[in-house]
């Protein structure tokens, strides 16, 4: 994305430039309420931008013009996992994963069911019978949401606070699952999080965000040794965790 600024009527994010390559994991790191979720909503076309441009697999999307057809097509190439999973509670876990397949592909209901089962198995979920999201634990719901985000084989995966509220062990397991899936599916990952552990994890690039804009970016070493006050505040926080 280039120069993304929005929403149109009251900009919260300003001039964001960001590049995610297939196979890479990048993190937008920043304190709560700094505009991370708003940035993700812009990338998904859920908010109308004031200016800027988004490219997905070389195809350009102007988020200021609301081209519904193009937006619908691009959304099939961006997988998204929202904070708290956002699974549809009236559907079963497997129906949640089937949903994008039934909407965007020509597969039969039986084929969609089979693909959904495979995806769930890939993210480490063996679901027997009709289990609803309410019957699953927090970590399991995240895995189902991850399987749903992968259903259409996206080019890039956007994850909003994917391990928020999980204990360190479960969070590490989730990271491992994601890392194992990435080479197999070849998607790029963009994680939006306030968890400073990402500045010390296996990610290619880190963007530090504050008050709606990127204040610093670079690899792990560059961020850990940055002198920017916001970055220092974030990184030094790790010593207290």
């Amino acid at each position: 994305m280039r120069g993304l600024t929005g929403p149109a009527d009251r900009p919260i994010i300003v001039d964001i430039d960001l590049l995610v390559r297939r196979g890479e994991t990048q993190v937008v790191l920043g304190p709560i309420q700094c505009g991370k979720s708003m940035l993700m909503r812009h990338l998904l076309g859920l908010e109308r931008a004031e200016r800027g441009v988004v490219f997905v697999d070389g195809e350009e999307y102007d988020p200021t013009d609301g081209n519904d057809g193009l937006l619908r097509r691009l959304r099939t190439r961006i997988g998204a996992m929202f904070e708290g999973s956002a699974l549809l509670t009236k559907l079963t876990a497997i129906e949640n994963v089937e949903l994008p397949l039934l909407e965007h592909t020509d597969v039969t209901a039986a084929e969609a069911r089979e693909t959904a089962r495979e995806l769930l198995a890939e993210v480490g979920m063996e679901i027997a019978g009709e289990v609803t999201p309410a019957e699953l634990g927090r970590a399991a719901r995240r895995r189902v949401a991850l399987a749903r985000a992968l259903a259409l084989r996206p080019a890039v995966l956007l994850l909003d606070e994917p391990t928020l509220g999980l204990d360190p062990h479960t969070a590490a397991e989730f990271d491992e699952t994601l890392a194992a899936l990435q080479p197999r599916h070849g998607f790029g990952v963009l994680i939006f999080s306030h968890e400073v552990r990402y500045a010390f994890g296996a990610v290619e690039h880190i963007y530090v965000m504050a008050e709606g804009t990127i204040v610093e970016h670079g690899d792990r070493d560059a961020i850990q040794h940055s002198g920017h006050p916001v970055v220092r505040q974030l990184v030094d926080r790790r010593g207290h965790q």
């Binding site: 998904l44 129906e95 994008p100 909407e103 259409l152």
Partner: protein, 274 residues
């Protein structure tokens, strides 16, 4: 307010907020109505398992779930109507006319309106609250982010269910209101069953049922669209859920009563329709 702030400029030229809000609400409901009609037609032409299953689930929740409430309330309404009509007509020595009035009054007015009010009380707040909570929990965003239209997956199944459930419940209510009327007339007013049925047949016409069922279809659409719109158009805040539920009940009641008034006026003023 500072003279040069953007707010001061917009306040000078803007449409008054109340009018803008009402206008916006009409536009939003109009859009939702068109979207819902489109997806309802799609549901009939090209049903897909996951949406059809949603319709079935909603029929169970909105229709079958309301059956006990509608049944018990209808019998009581039949009794109340009998007592009211009989007590008013006693002054004219025409108490027996209560048997005559109950049939067409149930089919044309008490049945469809009573069922609509009961469904609003039971389900409109629930529907608006459910959608508002989905908005606060990010489920609506998740649907849109997958390129799925919430109207197709959430509103159309609910509307389809209401369009099936309300007329069905209305026919059931019609029968049970008459049953309540029969109890009132025979047990409390002392008329024979034979007399009650004779009076009932003299005034009742099958066309009355069609009028009532037609009304219930209109009411179902009003309830579905208003409740869904109130739920879908809230801000993504948890405290918005309660407000959405309250507004849904209020506007559904006003909408149904307004539509009923218009329908009754049409029947009254256009000769030959009755």
């Amino acid at each position: 307010m500072e003279p040069d702030s953007p707010q001061s400029h917009s306040a000078t030229y803007a449409v008054p907020p109340g009018i803008a809000s009402v206008g916006g609400r009409f536009i939003s409901r109009g859009r939702l109505t068109l979207g819902a009609l489109y997806w309802l037609a799609w549901l009939i032409v090209s049903p897909r398992v996951i949406v059809s299953a949603g319709v079935q689930r909603e029929i169970e929740a909105l229709g079958v779930g309301a059956l006990r409430l509608v049944a018990s309330a209808s019998v009581l309404v039949g009794l109340i109507a009998t007592f009211q009509i009989a007590s008013q007509l006693t002054a004219y020595g025409a108490e027996a006319m209560a048997s005559r009035a109950i049939g067409w009054f149930a089919a044309r007015e008490l049945g469809p309106l009573g069922v609509a009010i009961l469904v609003i009380a039971r389900s409109a707040a629930g529907t608006a609250g459910e959608f508002a909570s989905m908005s606060a929990g990010g489920e609506l965003d998740a649907l849109r982010a997958m390129g799925l239209d919430p109207v197709k997956y959430l509103v159309a199944p609910k509307l389809a269910a209401l369009l099936v459930a309300l007329p069905t419940l209305t026919v059931v209510a019609d029968g049970l209101i008459v049953f309540g009327g029969w109890i009132g007339n025979t047990v409390f007013l002392g008329y024979s069953t034979h007399f009650f049925l004779e009076q009932f047949r003299a005034s009742f016409d099958v066309f009355d049922i069609f009028v009532g069922v037609g009304k219930s279809v209109v009411f179902a659409f009003i309830i579905g669209v208003i409740a869904a719109d109130e739920g879908l158009s809230v801000e993504r805040r948890v405290d918005a859920i309660g407000n959405a539920a309250t507004r849904a009940v209020v506007f559904c009641l006003i909408g149904v009563l307004a539509a009923d008034t218009v329908i009754n006026a049409i029947f009254y003023f256009i000769p030959g329709l009755t």
